[in-house]
């Protein structure tokens, strides 16, 4: 029971200026189910990638079976029998179920490999999910998302030359229905009782509390609690995730308190899967925050609102012009070959024309005025956008949205990986623009940013599950709503 399959000691990981892990100590022993919880950005995913060897730590020691492994990588993890069911599916959609099994099992080659692979995966599926109804020859892209998840889970538990010893399950039940989830959790207990180990990540706290032996809570890249499961209860888990015990009030600037939902209605939105109940509304001059765990429908709702602009009001009503500040600036935001000025003015080109042509002078003035207001640090706006630091690139994207004629600005977690100086500049500007009557719909994964919002909607499973006013905002309440189970 005491032998550690894998030990992490003082493991840190930085991506540029972002510290994803700030010194993690963790031991995983055979025969235990470890539950791992934490809010957005706590470092869970990075930790999983380090355990599977897909990401190398910046510093720290990884030991496997009491031996230090400075060269730890994917193949060593594989040899040790450490496998992961990643949250984003890692099956090849163009291959069959059997072929996908062979990709993780090298011994499955030579004559009759397809038959053996099919037998292996179907055998495991029968064991974990009796009555699954999946054929070994079915092409993965033809399967429903739930079934793909089942195949992926079963594949992680299959055995050829290497015995699976530690299986990491990252939100495995998110696309399974309740009865299949139940099958998986019971199987996990059986696997553990036979000497295996699992790391189980879930936003359904009850699953963690009921099915794990030990629970590790992460926060800000650190392990903040590590104890046997019976020592925790729902509320204790939530408070530990949120940090300071008790009702920790997020300090908010004065402006956010003077809520003013009296202006004109700009956006009204109801989630697609939400037939009744809470509706999101944004009025002129309001800053509205969207919170909850990442990937629970916040970005999707922003895109839906953006696309509904100019359309007829129905489930979504949008009045006036809308601009979107993308979160992933590399793929959705910047034009990498263009100058800073061109990147700023592209949203406003129709307003900058003289006759059929763009007035270079007016475009230059617009870009220049926003460079001053938002503080883009560059000697020349005609430089390429990539000459800017990440934070300043993001400022240029804000300048693009703010410089446009849009009355509503949608922001899709735009401050990811941005330095604090830039953040403060932008916060100041958002407050100022809101006072001028603009309204903001702001999806953020950072608790501190919610403090700038007049009201906050919390998303879970693509639905709005709670609405908080600024006065009601505490970190604990946000986490509570994000993790709450469907009763």
């Amino acid at each position: 029971m005491d032998r550690g399959i894998i030990d992490l000691s003082e493991v840190t990981k930085s991506f540029g200026a972002v510290h994803a892990l700030r010194g993690v100590d963790l031991t995983i022993r055979s025969g235990e189910a470890l539950g791992l919880v934490g809010h957005n950005g706590a470092g869970k995913s990075t930790l999983m990638h380090i355990l599977t060897g897909t990401v190398a730590p910046t510093a720290g020691i990884i030991s496997a079976d009491q031996n230090q492994r400075p060269d730890y990588d994917v193949n060593i993890a594989k040899m040790l029998g450490i496998r992961c069911v990643f949250q984003e599916l890692s099956l090849c959609p163009n291959l069959t179920v059997a072929e996908n099994t062979c990709i993780t099992h090298r011994p499955l080659s030579g004559l009759g490999w397809r038959k053996r692979a099919g037998k292996l995966i179907i055998g495991k599926l029968d064991e974990i999910f009796p009555g699954h109804g999946i054929m070994p020859g079915a092409i993965v892209s033809d399967l429903s998302i739930g079934r793909r998840q089942m195949v992926e889970i079963a594949r992680a538990f299959t055995k050829t030359d290497i015995i699976p010893r530690l299986i990491i399950l990252d939100e495995p039940t998110s696309s399974l229905d309740p009865s299949t989830s139940q099958q998986l959790l019971s199987f996990m207990r059986r696997f553990v009782s036979e000497g295996g180990a699992t790391i189980f990540i879930s936003h359904l706290l009850q699953e963690i509390l009921d099915y794990c032996d030990r629970i590790v809570v992460m926060r800000d890249g650190r392990v903040v609690a590590d104890d046997i499961a019976t020592e925790f209860g729902r509320s204790k888990l939530i408070t530990t995730m949120g940090g300071a015990a008790g009702g920790h009030q997020v300090s908010s600037p004065e402006s956010a308190r003077s809520a003013s939902s009296t202006g004109n209605l700009r956006v009204r939105y109801r989630a697609k899967t939400q037939p009744t109940g809470i509706e999101l509304s944004v009025h002129a001059g309001e800053i509205v925050g969207l919170a909850g765990l990442a990937g629970h429908g916040q970005s999707l709702s922003l895109i839906e609102i953006f696309e509904a602009a100019g359309g007829r009001p129905g489930r979504i009503e949008v009045n006036g012009q809308v601009a979107l500040v993308a979160g992933d600036r590399q793929t959705d935001g910047i034009f990498p070959l263009w100058s800073i000025a061109d990147n700023i003015t592209v949203r406003s080109l129709t307003a900058l024309t003289r006759g059929a042509l763009i007035s270079q002078q007016r475009a230059g003035e617009l870009a220049k005025s926003w460079k001053e207001r938002i503080g883009i640090r560059t000697p020349d706006l005609d430089n390429n956008i990539l000459s800017l630091s990440g934070g300043n690139q993001q400022k240029a994207l804000f300048a693009r949205a703010f410089g446009s004629n849009a009355e509503t600005i949608l922001m899709d977690d735009p401050m990811r990986g941005v330095d604090i100086g830039t953040k403060l500049d932008v916060y100041r500007l958002i407050e100022h623009e809101a006072e001028q009557g603009r309204c903001f719909l702001w999806y953020t994964t950072e608790m501190d940013e919610l403090a700038y919002c007049h009201k906050i909607y919390i998303f879970r499973n693509r639905q709005i599950v709670a609405q908080l006013s600024q006065d009601e905002l505490t970190e604990e309440r946000v986490i509570h709503s994000s993790f709450q189970e469907a009763v």
Binding site: F86, N94, D177
Partner: protein, 335 residues
């Protein structure tokens, strides 16, 4: 949770187990059907063409085209595209006619070195994360330049053994058909029926997943490109065997023809979805389509009417568009 929950477990089972899906059957039969339609058209215009000698004549150039298509398919399997295969086939043809008959050692070494270069290209594409289209487009000019260097003027000699092999008379079944069938079977076995082929296609479908399973994507890409190099070399050799002389520009059309053949055969541009048997059929279809147009006539109305030969290339394009449109319709119905 998502819609799966809402519908309940009983509805979970509806998406699959449709082993007999008429749409899917129709889609996979599409390459064969188009080949049959073209053959039927030829028979209608000129029944005598459907004979042992007729096929030998009509499918004269089908073997090199099918081999070039097979080469393209190896690249498409890893979700890349090769715009240099035509120039490469031309280069190999020039090497074959210039060096193989007189200095076989030099010729063989040159061909082997080109195959290694092809593999290295695949490694480069992965290592520097370059778009394959750009790299192979650049390489097409390199191959063309090398071909002109080896053989500045058209001409040369075909090695005797090569012409003999390509002129082989198999009893009952014309040689090009035998060659095409063998190629289709070998290609299908290697790409679709081996574990190695599954990994190769997996890299085209979800490279991250294959990398996370501990495979070297560099080696996968290099292998796929080297396989294309081998098949491209065979295409060059067979082209010389048929035409018995070479010219640097002789196979330039093969680049687009090979892509068209692979797509016609059921492959998708991205995502590692390929069909080797379909691709060989696609290559044959495109080859026969030009022949069918030669025979096309409107005897009652205009007895002397013939479709001008310069329209033939356009006809290949129209066939491609029609087939793809049909496939898109099937796919839409399915979604």
């Amino acid at each position: 949770m998502n819609a799966v929950v809402k519908s309940g477990p009983s509805k979970l089972w509806t998406d699959q187990n449709r082993r007999f899906d008429p749409r899917r059957l129709f889609r996979s039969a599409l390459p064969g059907l188009s080949l049959l339609i073209v053959l039927a058209a030829i028979y209608d215009f000129n029944p005598r063409a459907i004979s042992y000698f007729g096929f030998n004549l009509m499918l004269n150039l089908a073997v090199p085209v099918a081999l070039a298509t097979a080469a393209q398919l190896c690249i498409i399997a890893v979700s890349d595209l090769d715009l240099s295969i035509g120039a490469y086939v031309g280069f190999i043809a020039c090497v074959t006619t210039t060096w193989l008959p007189t200095t076989p050692l030099l010729g063989t070494a040159a061909i082997l070195a080109s195959i290694v270069a092809y593999g290295a290209l695949g490694a480069l594409v992965h290592w520097r994360q370059l778009p394959s289209i750009v790299v192979t487009l650049g390489m097409s000019f390199v191959w063309l330049g090398l071909a002109l260097f080896v053989r500045p003027q058209p001409g040369g000699l075909s090695p005797v053994w090569l012409s003999t092999f390509m002129g082989l008379h198999v009893p009952y079944v014309p040689f090009p058909i035998v060659a095409a069938v063998v190629l289709a079977i070998v290609l299908h076995l290697v790409l679709m029926n081996t574990a190695f082929g599954a990994v190769l296609r997996g890299a085209g479908g979800n490279a991250t997943a294959v990398g996370r399973s501990g495979w070297s994507l560099l080696r996968i890409k290099a292998t796929a490109y080297a396989m294309a190099g081998v098949l491209g070399s065979l295409a060059g050799l067979s082209l010389v065997g048929v035409s018995s002389s070479a010219d640097a520009n002789m196979a330039n059309g093969y680049t687009l023809l090979s892509i068209a053949g692979a797509i016609l055969g059921g492959a998708e541009f991205i995502g590692g979805r390929i069909s080797p048997i379909g691709a060989v059929m696609g290559a044959l279809t495109l080859q026969l389509a030009t022949v069918a147009l030669n025979f096309f006539q409107l005897p009652e109305v205009f007895p002397g009417f013939r479709i001008p030969p310069e329209w033939q290339v356009g006809a290949q394009g129209i066939i491609l568009i029609v087939i793809l449109a049909i496939r898109a319709l099937i796919n839409r119905g399915e979604a």
